[in-house]
Subunit: 86 residues, 2 copies
DNA sequence: TGAATAGGTAGCATATATGCTACGTTTTAG
DNA sequence: CTAAAACGTAGCATATATGCTACCTATTCA
């Protein structure tokens, strides 16, 4: 489990920090071990769908907003102003 | 791995059949073992994100269209006529 | 009839996901 | 400066994901 890098990308850290949660807090909310969350954030871990769904539920975003085969780009003006366009 | 049931749902079988693919064909396209696909379809398997992303890429739908914590409802008129509303 | 295709089930082997404990470093708060 | 919190890293144990082989049943098709 040591120094591997997985072949896909995730935005877990950004989403967690945006919600002002520590790993420990997110761990408690999701019932996932905090070290496991750390591994995922460092892209050293290939979690299962079940674990991903727990994160998705607690963070309130879809799986595709957290995990992607392609690197996530930076949030642009359009994404950040989405609430204005409805 | 035998007679367990996972705690979430997937629409893999429906999506595969809709695309007229056998398990063997989908297995070749995704580089996933056909028996592994069978286990997933029977909800006896908790695949990893990496495997899910392969399925997502080949099927051309997002992760959330394949996997969900809640049961998928039947496709309704609105879903099936989505292409008419754009 | 019989061959081919699709699917279900099982057993085994190996890799890895996940939890856990411990300890180090860095950052924050008093 | 010091204590606490957050984060990084490592090692170990157990469960399970995944590939693989084999066999069985059902269906299709020549």
């Amino acid at each position: 489990m040591v120094d591997k890098q997985v072949a896909f990308h995730n935005r877990l850290k950004m989403l967690r920090v945006e919600r002002d949660l520590s790993r420990k807090q997110l761990a408690e909310l999701t019932d996932i071990h905090p070290q496991t969350i750390g591994y995922i954030e460092r892209q050293q871990f290939n979690p299962t769908i079940e674990l991903a769904l727990k994160l998705s539920a607690v963070l309130g975003v879809g799986l595709d907003a957290i995990f992607s085969a392609e690197p996530f780009g930076l949030l642009d003006d359009k994404a950040l102003r989405r609430d204005l366009n409805e």
